[in-house]
């Protein structure tokens, strides 16, 4: 009798124990397993990502820095005591990062729920709904770090910034991206049907934030009734920090804390809302 029990029990116990071990590993690392593959699947369009990451800074820097810069420098001898190219470069890095991050949090997130349903596939594994959200945010943050690094190298090679501290513009770019991208991801996760929402975000959120965020001139030159757009734009906060790092724009400790604090709070709130909305949608 006991022999019979023995011959039946081990495989079962084995299975249960193995499942428990796997689950424990996934509870801790599931977000990374998913982020890793999200990054891997981006390789399908890696060449275009890389192409854009090089081309966009080149275009912007040539058009704004060199073209417009010649005019500005000729008239007023630069802005904030530096040549226009040096002034505008950190802003271009940050706003490109924010734009790219935000775009990755619109249609791709909707598709994960709606068209390809990849999020539902992930939620059916040992991973949890919250991990699906975290993986998405982590993967795109890593990609954003990569893009900002390429941008930074382009800026260095054009003499638009110098080495050293300016390398910290890379994490600032990604953090600024997360500060707007995460709230957008939270919103995208609530959309049942693709409508006009994304083009509205593009037109009435991203574009104004880009144009009125002090990217091309100091925000203070704007009338006060327009400056608020910059205050709520992660692009402005990120750009100010990037300028301090790139050419030493004088910022007080309080200003640095304010800009950094804004980005961190916006990013953290956005991430928390994204996790909550993913959970709701994936466990409905």
């Amino acid at each position: 009798m006991s022999e019979l029990t023995l011959s039946v029990t081990p495989p079962d116990t084995d299975r249960v124990a193995r499942a428990a071990r796997q689950a424990a590993r996934v509870r801790r690392w599931g977000w990374w397993y998913q982020a890793e593959w999200r990054l891997f699947s981006m390789k399908a369009y890696l060449s275009s990502v890389f192409g854009w990451a090089v081309l966009v800074p080149l275009l912007y820097v040539l058009a704004m820095g060199v073209g417009l810069g010649a005019l500005v420098d000729g008239r007023s001898g630069g802005i904030d005591g530096v040549p226009y190219l040096t002034f505008v470069a950190p802003g271009l890095l940050v706003s490109t990062a924010v734009m790219s991050f935000s775009n990755e949090m619109m249609f791709p997130v909707m598709s994960g729920f709606k068209w390809q349903e990849l999020y539902f596939a992930r939620a059916a594994t040992s991973g949890s709904a919250g991990q699906v959200a975290i993986a998405e945010l982590v993967a795109v943050t890593i990609r954003s770090l990569g893009e900002s690094a390429i941008f930074w190298v382009v800026l260095i090679s054009l003499g638009a910034t110098s080495g050293g501290l300016s390398a910290l513009m890379i994490p600032i770019g990604a953090l600024s991206g997360l500060a707007l991208g995460a709230p957008i991801a939270a919103y995208s996760a609530t959309l049942a049907n693709e409508g006009f929402q994304f083009s509205m975000i593009q037109r009435f959120v991203l574009n104004p934030m880009f144009l009125f965020a002090g990217t091309f001139y100091p925000l203070a030159t704007m009338p006060v009734y327009l400056q608020w757009i910059g205050w709520i734009s992660p692009m402005w906060h990120g750009t100010q920090l990037a300028r301090a790092l790139s050419f030493g724009l004088p910022l007080s400790g309080a200003e640095i804390a304010f800009h950094l604090g804004f980005l961190i709070v916006a990013a953290a709130t956005g991430c928390a809302l994204t996790i909550r909305n993913f959970r709701r949608r994936l466990t409905k």
Binding site: A23, V26, A121
Partner: protein, 306 residues
């Protein structure tokens, strides 16, 4: 210990009772079906088993664990084949398997040979390096089933496994599922195809409006709720309903559908002869065995596929 134990399992969305207090148990190695029309609550019940839909009330144990509190543990030994093939279309077939296995926390040393074995099982070995986008519907379905087996699950949840497939692809799939069952995997299948339920399920529950309206093996359900044979008569859409009263004497039970009249009888040919002797000449007639479709019609007054 049953693999699944559900008691008074309920899920409401606002006013709608998607699953309305159902009880069922599934034994290890059993092939269990949830049969019902669209919207009967089958898929919701399946998702609750995986802990990907939170129940409103009731209790549910999968392998002795509550999927809501022990989601990762429960899903570690669960394979899920959802209604739509949510494969990653950008990745190759084999990479889809590796990726999915990774989500279960499995090491690549285990996953690489396992992926090859499953591609073989799904007859997709020569498509291993093909992007999923380029696979046919039947191949995608088989790949989804292969994917659900990557973690060597003891329970496989199949939600409408063959919907949208051509007959040949369906038979290949059924064959693969049979083999799994032979290895001791517990199958839980939702379907609105009675032939599929008859092929795959040892035991099934018929669901309607979130409730279980009958339970048993396909054969016992047919015995209990239908006759051995069915005579289908068509008199033309105008006359079908008008003739019901006159036909009543020739069958145990009668169902008048818009396009035909169903006469439930032990011997269909004999009933047909009797109808003809009475001077009625149907436009077409057909004698067939009773199916689960008839059981469903009897239980709910509606057809499964509308």
């Amino acid at each position: 210990m049953p693999v699944i134990e559900a008691h008074a399992l309920t899920k409401t969305y606002g006013e709608l009772n998607a699953v309305d207090g159902i009880d069922f148990e599934v034994a290890p190695g059993e092939s269990f079906g949830l049969l019902g029309p669209n919207g009967a609550g089958k898929s919701t019940a399946m998702r609750m088993i995986g802990g990907t839909s939170l129940r409103t009330s009731g209790t549910l144990l999968v392998n002795g664990l509550d999927p809501e509190t022990h989601g990762p543990e429960v899903r570690a030994s669960l394979g899920v084949v959802p209604q739509t093939d949510n494969l990653d279309p950008e990745l190759k077939a084999r990479d889809n398997l590796l990726m999915y296995g990774r989500y279960f926390g499995l090491p690549y040393s285990y996953l690489r040979p396992k992926a090859d074995e499953l591609l073989e099982f799904a007859q997709l070995t020569d498509k291993a390096a093909e992007k999923v986008d380029n696979l046919s519907g039947g191949m995608k379905r088989r790949l989804t089933i292969a994917r659900s087996l990557i973690n060597d699950p003891s329970v496989l949840l199949l939600d409408e496994p063959t919907t949208g497939l051509d007959p040949q692809a369906r038979h290949i799939l059924w064959d693969r599922l049979f083999r799994l069952k032979e290895t001791g995997v517990t199958l839980i299948v939702t379907t609105h195809f009675m032939d599929e339920a008859e092929q795959l399920c040892d035991r099934l529950v018929v669901m309607d409006h979130g409730r279980i309206v009958a339970e048993g093996s396909p054969a016992s359900l047919i015995r209990q709720y239908s006759t051995r044979e069915v005579l289908e008569l068509r008199f033309g859409s105008e006359r079908n309903a008008a003739l019901v009263d006159r036909l009543r004497g020739f069958a145990t039970r009668i169902e008048a559908l818009p396009d035909r009249v169903l006469l439930y009888a032990e011997d269909g040919e004999e009933s047909l002869a009797a109808v003809r002797r009475d001077g009625l000449e149907p436009v077409t007639s057909l004698v067939r065995r009773s199916s689960l479709e008839d059981v469903f019609l009897r239980l709910t007054g509606r057809s499964l596929v509308e």
